[in-house]
Symmetry: C2
Subunit: 492 residues, 2 copies
């Protein structure tokens, strides 16, 4: 009986969290500019309600009255997640939780304005307050001698600490630096698209893509946002993308990336049940679904054979005349200021930089006033060019403005997991390349459903990956894929 009461309580809290997600989606896609102050109050009110529900003393009583071993596996996961949310919530004072939600809603608008005005100083005090609030949150929540940063990161990738990430990223870094050096040494120059890429035609092409990757349009929609994201669960999973008229790849690969997130959310069995057991495994696993669709499949030579004629259909003359050259244009390697526009060789170097900077901010080793200079120094050292403006530098990502610290490393984990999953998928599915070339992804989608989606949160992320590939996630699979692909393209 106490389980039914607990579950009803959990489900209503989950429904409210979905509402909070919808408010965020609306703010990014539909809300008029003068709605910001009101929205901040709304987010604060919802957050206050969820916080009160999560630390409702009845939750502890219901759990204490349970014989957990008598519950089925999904119920055990639900109880474990409720306990975790209760522990987290009871440690964070209600006024701090509300202040965080309200500040995030305001800060995002200030970030967007500072980004448009190319002025980090306009955003710095707001970011400073956010770091201050997140440090307070981490101090309130830390368990034992966990670092402040690890405390925050546990929200996104349970069981993964910054020392383990550092080791994984270190292994990856060595391989990437080596590959990048060989590519630079090749002296090869890849083709570049040239043509007219108006917004409407980019969106028309983009709207042809999600269904190829298994996305159900009756359970979703796609809109434009400054920073693309995917929002929602089960029957209502919304994609966003963005359009740069000088570079259609931005829109097209953002769309495929977010579609990868979207089909994961649409495919988890019981996703409409509002139970934690029937939700995604971790942010790293989530990102593996988007990155595999974007890169291992979307940027493959096989898929270029499908995408090249689509580009010709929508844009006419595009400056490359065959699928081979199109594939090379898609995979051109060069330093980019913008993480989300980066090629696969540079992408994780972006993440390593954010990981180090945000960890230093949260641990109190770097002041917000020093952040822009630290960013610019590190960027020039890692990428070989100087940052030309704040929108291409420290102001490019929305994450810190909404308090997402400890989230960036999940992007690299997603790439590592995608490398592991794809290597295994290639071994399991005969003729995978031909399927991708024909834009027939039924078999790889079935593989993903069976190996990843259908497990929801029933396994810890590390266990999920080990059960599929037979070993702990490492950098070898991703590096093997990158070396083979770019080795062939650049002849190195």
């Amino acid at each position: 009986m106490s389980y039914e009461l607990l579950l009803d309580h959990i489900k209503k809290t989950t429904a409210l969290a979905q509402v909070s997600g919808l408010l965020g989606w609306d703010q990014e896609t539909k809300m008029p500019s003068k709605g910001g102050a009101q929205r901040a109050e709304q987010m604060g009110a919802i957050e206050g309600v969820m916080h009160a529900r999560r630390c409702d003393p009845r939750v502890a009583e219901w759990i204490a009255a349970l014989d957990i071993s008598a519950l089925d596996a999904a119920a055990q996961v639900n109880v474990r997640e409720a306990q975790k949310a209760y522990d987290t919530a009871t440690k964070v004072p209600a006024d701090l939780a509300e202040a965080l939600a309200r500040h995030a809603a305001k800060a995002q608008g200030i970030w967007a304005k500072a980004r448009a005005a190319q002025n980090f100083a306009d955003f710095a005090p707001t970011l400073g307050e956010m770091v201050n609030l997140k440090r307070q949150e981490a101090q309130a929540r830390r368990v034992g001698d966990a670092s402040l940063y690890d405390t925050l990161m546990d929200d996104y990738e349970p069981g993964m600490g910054s020392s383990e990430i550092s080791a994984l990223l270190g292994e990856l870094r060595t391989g990437l630096v080596d590959l990048r050096g060989r590519i630079a040494g090749s002296g090869k120059v890849m083709p570049v698209l040239k043509g007219d890429f108006p917004k409407d035609r980019q969106m028309a092409l983009a709207r042809e893509l999600p269904a190829i990757f298994g996305y159900d349009w009756q359970a979703g929609r796609m809109d434009i946002a400054v920073h693309p994201f995917c929002s929602g669960n089960g029957g209502d999973v919304r994609l966003t993308t963005r359009v740069d008229e000088s570079n259609p790849f931005d829109c097209i690969y953002s769309t495929i990336h977010e579609t990868g997130h979207g089909i994961y959310e649409q495919s988890i069995p019981g996703a409409d049940r509002l139970e934690p057991a029937y939700s995604y495994a971790s942010m790293g696993v989530h990102e593996s679904q988007s990155r595999m669709m974007e890169n291992q499949i979307g940027r493959s030579r096989a898929f270029a054979g499908h995408l090249f004629p689509l580009f010709k259909k929508h844009f006419g003359e595009i400056g490359v005349s065959n699928a081979d050259d199109f594939h090379k244009a898609v995979n051109r390697v060069r330093s980019s200021y913008i993480r989300t526009e980066s090629d696969e060789v540079h992408y994780n170097l972006h993440i390593m930089m954010r990981f180090d900077l945000e960890r230093a901010l949260i641990e109190g080793e770097l002041e917000v006033e020093e952040l822009e200079a630290a960013w610019n120094d590190r960027f020039e050292a890692d990428f070989g060019v100087a940052v030309d403006c704040p929108a291409n530098g420290v102001l490019q990502d929305v994450h810190w403005s909404v308090g997402l610290f400890g989230y960036f490393p999940t992007y690299s984990l997603g790439n590592l997991y995608a490398g592991e999953f794809f290597a295994r998928m290639q071994a399991d599915i005969t003729g995978l390349d031909a399927m991708i070339a024909g834009a027939d992804l039924a078999a790889p989608l079935e593989w993903l459903h069976r190996n990843v989606h259908e497990h929801g949160r029933m396994k810890a992320p590390g266990q999920l990956i080990e059960d599929v590939v037979g070993h702990k996630a490492g950098a070898a699979a991703l590096l093997g894929y990158l070396n083979a692909k770019f080795g062939e393209i650049y002849g190195v």
Copy 2:
């Protein structure tokens, strides 16, 4: 001190009510079709939270501890509204409140499908359950010997009972039947638009209109919905409209109508403060703002001089060749199946019919199974033609599907109030007609701000009107306007 605690409590509840409004807006405009079940859970969860907040025992304690006479006028209104919400909420059991919210979210989708399928029987059991739930609500809430229907109506038009409405509508009915008879006897036939009215061009024209009526696009947006509505407060007030490619007036006058609602919400000083004192006076007063913009101004000969060239610009050849004929086409009188497409002579006959039918449903004098036949009989008797299909009959309005019983009469009250306000405005503003002809509505908007908008909920609706026009609202002003206008157009 107890007032500050009460006010903080009220404001968070108001913010949650705004969130609930946004969920409704999203459901009508953006939500994918498979999102309905999840949305019903979300609405139920939010309703449950608001219900618990409204009947929080601390509200009664805070109010009991107050010296109300020592508060300023706005604070007194806030306390009065909190007391009213508390009284209402403590009488409705939480499971009934949640069942209502959940049923409304589901029922709306079922109504939309039944309407598309032209089958009332598909909707009848759902409507039956809604009537059942609303009767339970009214039984729980009734004060003294108030009727069930009056109990529900008090939510929308405080202080107005069904006997007073019956008297007002009776007076109006006599005048309308007389006017309609004279128009029919005239034998005159008005011009009709003929042309090509594609959706995109209708929306392009529609988007030119709100700013004329004082709407601030930075504090709002406009989308398409099956049944147009206006949603939101202060800095985020959203319009919806709809498009019928065979009749552009539907889109254009829906837009002007909803803009009237929108500028009221945008113009109430302190609308972003989340306090009841700074909200609309009543639904009847709200409707007076939309109807005056739509009819007294939007359908005037003066405004036809502005609108006719706009139609020519967007649609080219439209079948009428001058503003006089355009004005006559706008004001063509004929029986229409659809309330929202009705001319000003027939519109209130629609309302009178819904008022009688819904009152009978709620009072238990009419069964849902009998509703379609009762509708069809009454329509043929009142309008002289038989209903041809359910979408043109009993399934045309969304209201009952979401539990809005007692709301329809506020439409006629809005028309009566608009008649009163406009007569007074004409007396107060010299050269009003020329201003309308020039689409310069600064003076009438200032008049509305000063006489209506800026009072928020500080006056009861009856008092608000009496203070502006010097007497209680009656039917004479509206009938005088209608007789003058249609007398001239039809020469009767």
